[in-house]
């Protein structure tokens, strides 16, 4: 399964939990359409869109992990 944090929740830059509205992979609203393909693809790629605001995040992939940073809502890590 994909990282549920990346897909369902976003940690705010201040540590608070932010409601996730958008798909981290395709950037479309989670309640519009089927995102099961996105969930599968998130096993092989990091999220690119902030789940809270749909901004494209700065994503750095490293050999053993990745970070994704939204200018508004802060970083995600794995």
């Amino acid at each position: 399964m994909s990282d549920p944090v990346a897909h369902r929740h976003t940690e705010g830059g201040d540590g608070s939990t932010v409601r996730t509205t958008f798909c981290g992979l395709c950037g479309e609203p989670l309640d519009a359409g089927d995102h099961s393909g996105c969930v599968r693809r998130l096993q092989l790629e990091p999220p690119r869109y902030c789940g809270a605001c749909r901004r494209r995040m700065k994503v750095q992939v490293t050999p053993r992990g990745w970070t994704a940073d939204c200018v508004e809502h802060g970083p995600l890590h794995r």
């Binding site: 092989l44 992939v61 050999p63």
Partner: protein, 357 residues
């Protein structure tokens, strides 16, 4: 893997009813010719022969992989070279390589980002911890500018001070001065892929030429750095063009050939291409090994999507003798531990650093 004995024995002298007649009969089957030419004499297959290999039916793939594996063991040995890669400068590339999500010319979701030196050293440490002997620093650029060269210079120095690992680089097309500078920094190997066959390249990249890539590869090799040069398959090329790429790489003669399978990226011109079939991917692996019996043949990007777990194993038993462990530049790979466990299960030792120096 089971060999297909009956088919092979019909062309092997001494096993048929009339051996004298068999000695006079030319060997026509491509697998048998490859066995004689590549396995026994150590010569790579020609373009025409590679086309024949790529046209073999699915039911002959196990036999083909078995031969490619025997070639790899005979001419390279059992060791597998393990490498990690990291993107030093991601996105915003001015080139239009149609397979790449890092081009600034497409509407890809990949944003531009730079890795700082401490993060670079951490990535090298993580890579070395897997047993890898090679760590490649990659930048999405046409060629390096002074800012990038300075970052690489600082990064390589810091890695060499902190981690025992060979450092490779992939920074695009180079000038002779940059080749010399990278060598002076202690770069062990330089990667610059041909990407595609010469005849197909204009359908893949329009912002620079195949010949420019070839020229950089020639300069790198002449410098004394090891040359890493491969490409991608599954980009809509014909089987003949796939064979052409393998033959052109064999002519170039790199130390290492990374073989990538297209992972169609959203927003790129190749984003809607179908994923290559695993059968075609396995034929390609075997063909590249039979074209280059002594070269490091590395599993690179796209193998998880194209081949999955089973295909990874088949490829390692079909000519591949090097892997990228962990993640790629913008996408994720299998867990490094899974690959290392597979190598252990297959009794394939990881190449030691001492053997690479």
């Amino acid at each position: 893997m089971q060999s297909r004995g009956p088919r092979r024995s019909t062309t092997r002298p001494g096993l048929s009813v009339d051996p004298c007649r068999d000695y006079l009969r030319p060997v026509t089957d491509i697998v048998e010719r490859a066995r004689l030419k590549v396995l026994e004499r150590g010569e790579g297959l020609s373009y025409d022969e590679l086309v024949e290999v790529l046209q073999l039916p699915d039911d002959r793939i196990p036999e083909l992989l078995e031969l490619a594996h025997a070639v790899r063991l005979a001419h390279c040995g059992p060791d597998v070279e393990v490498e990690g890669i990291v993107s030093l400068k991601t996105g915003g590339c001015p080139e239009d390589c149609h397979f790449c999500s890092q081009s600034g010319q497409f509407t890809s979701p990949v944003r531009s980002v730079w890795l700082d030196v401490p993060q670079l050293v951490k990535a090298a440490e993580e890579t070395a911890a897997t047993g890898a002997t090679e760590f490649c620093i990659v930048a999405a650029v046409r060629g390096p500018d002074e800012r990038l060269m300075a970052q690489v210079r600082d990064g390589v120095r810091a890695i060499h001070e902190a981690v025992e690992i060979n450092v490779a680089a992939s920074l695009g097309m180079l000038t002779q001065e940059q080749v010399d500078e990278l060598r002076a920094m202690g770069i062990h190997r330089y990667n610059h892929n041909l990407e595609a066959a010469r005849s197909y390249f204009p359908s893949v990249v329009t912002t620079h030429s195949w010949e420019e890539r070839w020229d950089t590869c020639e300069m790198v090799r002449a410098s004394g750095m090891e040359l890493c040069c491969g490409g991608l398959v599954g980009m809509g090329e014909t089987l003949e063009q796939r064979a052409e790429l393998a033959a052109q790489l064999a002519e170039l003669g790199p130390d290492e050939v990374p073989l990538n399978f297209l992972n169609p990226r959203p927003g790129t011109p190749f984003g809607d291409l179908p994923v290559m079939s695993s059968a075609d991917a396995l034929r390609a692996i075997a063909a590249f090994r039979l074209a280059m019996p002594r070269t490091l043949l590395r599993y690179a990007g796209g193998r998880e999507l194209t081949l999955g777990d089973l295909g990874t194993r088949e490829g390692l038993l079909g000519g591949v003798n090097a892997v990228i462990v962990g993640n790629y530049l913008t996408t994720l790979g299998r867990d490094a531990e899974e690959d290392l466990a597979l190598l252990s299960e297959l009794k394939m030792p990881i190449k030691e650093l001492a053997k690479t120096l």
